[in-house]
């Protein structure tokens, strides 16, 4: 989910809005956030438009691919970081069909506020990328960290942005990069450890989220209107829904990908 990112998924929420969003995320439902609602703590009336915090879930119908055990014997350091064999799962599905690592974003979204002064994180832990997919806004800082005591290279190969290939031989070192153009599905890989793959998404607005291990997601507040919401997965492709956001009405978006 967006919680895997460093920055808040719904920047600018009022305290009340943040509390509601947290509650509905946990329940798998969604809630309405009135920017004009009474603040729960001090009773002040906040001004603004009626907005909606949209949320939902992405599922994978049927039986997901089993995945293959990763052979880490080429680098004993990597192998020794795991007590059990690591399974390479391009499609991560929980027991309830929830599909992880899916980018859910609003196409033609309102530009919204400027990019938050926060950072997203792409880490390398136990010779695996964490998270498997990360999303940032245009010009937002992406921190790329090596938490391993072994050499990783981080090869990022966009098509609309400038690519790079970083050598990170030192445990704990961090590199910072940003992307100037929106681009979905930028591949990230390590040429030394061929099983390491991740994906970076760059969007020119803030209305997006990455599904968590249970397939759920929570989008920031949207102004009323009609929107096309798309779900994107590296292996399973895309699907989309057109939703109408009406003042005061809850909305839940359900996607199915693959199967």
């Amino acid at each position: 989910m967006a919680g895997e990112r460093r920055r808040p998924s719904a920047g600018g929420s009022t305290p009340l809005a943040a509390g509601v969003a947290l509650a509905v995320t946990g329940s798998g439902l969604l809630g309405i956030v009135w920017a004009g609602a009474r603040d729960a703590r001090d009773g002040a009336v906040l001004s603004g438009r009626v907005t909606l915090a949209a949320g939902g879930r992405v599922t994978f119908p049927g039986t997901p691919p089993a995945g293959e055990p990763i052979d880490m014997s080429a680098d004993p350091y990597c192998r020794e970081r795991h007590d059990e064999p690591v399974i390479d799962r391009p499609v991560r599905v929980d027991g309830d069909g929830g599909l992880a690592d899916v980018l859910v974003h609003v196409r033609s979204a309102p530009s919204g506020a400027e990019a938050p002064d926060a950072q997203a994180l792409l880490d390398q832990v136990g010779c695996m990328y964490t998270p498997a997919a990360v999303a940032v806004r245009v010009d937002e800082t992406l921190v790329i960290r090596n938490s391993d005591e072994t050499l990783h290279n981080v090869r990022v190969t966009p098509s609309a942005n400038r690519g790079f290939n970083l050598g990170q031989p030192i445990e704990g070192m961090e590199s910072r990069r940003s992307f100037g153009r929106p681009e979905i599905g930028i591949p990230v890989r390590c040429d030394i450890h061929g099983w390491m793959h991740s994906t970076i998404h760059v969007l020119d607005h803030g209305f997006f989220a990455i599904t968590g291990t249970d397939g759920s997601f929570s989008l920031p507040e949207l102004p009323a209107g009609e929107y096309e919401v798309e779900a994107w997965h590296r292996s399973l492709g895309t699907t989309s829904r057109t939703v109408t956001v009406t003042a005061g009405e809850p909305i839940e978006i359900a996607f199915e990908l693959g199967g």
Binding site: D75, R155, I170, E171, D191
Partner: protein, 378 residues
């Protein structure tokens, strides 16, 4: 490889100390640090022994160089290697698989790694790449090369000429080189007739010049200097009537010296004699040449500009002819990212005997073919 066995663990432990102390710290890196840093940053792909990791240890197919192979590992200067290590392969037109380590290691650490890489070639007979100085328009370098050079000389004053010379140089062994020069061109020559006003008439014609074969051997070198001896044999294949050759075989033994000066400056010296088999067609001659220049780099790792000035002197060994002196200001510039294709342009200006000799425009295109195809690395 050791990295994947016991010594790899030792190397990692050594790096844990060296890297932690040096990663973003000030102390200058030492040779010992260089070995540990190489183990941490390079050995995974290039192998602890510099021969390159086996394909089952890495996840890419690009062929890896063998750092023990002196013919490959010795001929480029440290600066080019460090540029690639700092900014990644594309900075010199090489594979994108080579990552950039500029955020992991500072300049001193990269130099320490470079010093360690230099230990893989353990044959001191190979002159260092630092001695491969920018090539002047006329003076012969002391460093043996694998190059092809196309030089065009344009003389605009009568008798005018446009002469092209193709030079192919092939290095063999650590210190030796053979070369072939093939000149051809267009030249103006008198017809023997007079015009309406009584002025001599000329016409233009094309022809082959005198083909030259040569050999050169670097007899001594150290970190900053290289000294070579060589001989060229000039064959009378050219059109002498058109000024594209001389009707005599000439032999040109010479000595050449190159020296690295501080602040990226450099010096070339060459001296020799041209001994003719027919002094009626070509006189015996002595020649001496000197070049001083300096290389400037655009940005941190960009295009290299090398302004130079050549001083050329020659004198016939028989008779009482005065020596001839020429000045050749010139500018060499690298054209492509890999920097193995270069252009040099200049003007050869006679300083003495100016009535008999004309100013010439000179330009060459140089392709260091050992470093890749002509169209690679742009």
């Amino acid at each position: 490889m050791p990295r994947h066995g016991g010594s790899g663990a030792r190397g990692r432990a050594a790096c844990a100390a060296a890297c932690a102390a040096l990663a973003w710290a000030a102390p200058p890196a030492t040779a010992q640090d260089g070995a540990a840093l190489y183990e941490a940053g390079c050995a995974s792909c290039h192998g602890a022994d510099g021969t390159g990791a086996s394909p089952d240890r890495i996840a890419f197919d690009d062929p890896l160089p063998d750092f023990r192979e002196c013919s490959f590992a010795s001929r480029e200067p440290d600066a080019d290697w460090i540029a690639v290590a700092h900014a990644g392969g594309p900075v010199r037109g090489f594979s994108e698989t080579m990552p950039a380590f500029g955020e992991a290691f500072d300049g001193a650490q990269l130099q320490a790694i470079m010093d360690h890489i230099r230990t893989f070639c353990d044959d001191p007979a190979w002159p260092a790449g630092e001695l491969n100085l920018p090539r002047p328009l006329v003076t012969e370098k002391a460093y043996p090369e694998d190059e092809a050079v196309w030089t065009t000389t344009v003389r605009t004053e009568s008798p005018a000429a446009v002469v092209h010379e193709t030079v192919y140089e092939k290095r063999f062994g650590p210190r030796s080189q053979i070369e072939v020069k093939l000149p051809f061109g267009f030249a103006e020559a008198p017809t023997g007739e007079l015009g309406p006003g009584g002025e001599p008439q000329t016409d233009w014609g094309a022809g082959l010049g005198d083909v030259t074969v040569g050999i050169k051997h670097a007899v001594a070198h150290d970190d900053r200097s290289i000294f070579s001896l060589g001989t060229e044999v000039v064959l009378p294949t050219g059109d002498a009537d058109r000024g594209l050759g001389a009707d005599a075989v000439r032999v040109e033994p010479f000595a050449a010296f190159g020296h690295v000066l501080p602040a990226d400056a450099f010096l070339h010296l060459q001296g020799g004699v041209e001994l003719s088999t027919d002094t009626g067609a070509a006189e015996h001659e002595a020649f001496w040449r000197g070049v001083i220049g300096k290389t400037f780099t655009s940005g941190e790792f960009g295009r290299a500009w090398s302004p130079m000035v050549e001083i050329l002197g020659s004198m016939e060994l028989e008779g009482d002819a005065d020596p001839s002196w020429d000045l050749v200001p010139q500018m060499q510039v690298t054209l492509n990212t890999r920097q193995h294709v270069m252009l040099n342009f200049g003007v050869r200006v006679p300083v003495t005997n100016t009535d008999a000799r004309a100013t010439e425009l000179m330009i060459y295109l140089l392709w260091d073919w050992f470093d890749g195809g002509l169209f690679d690395g742009w």
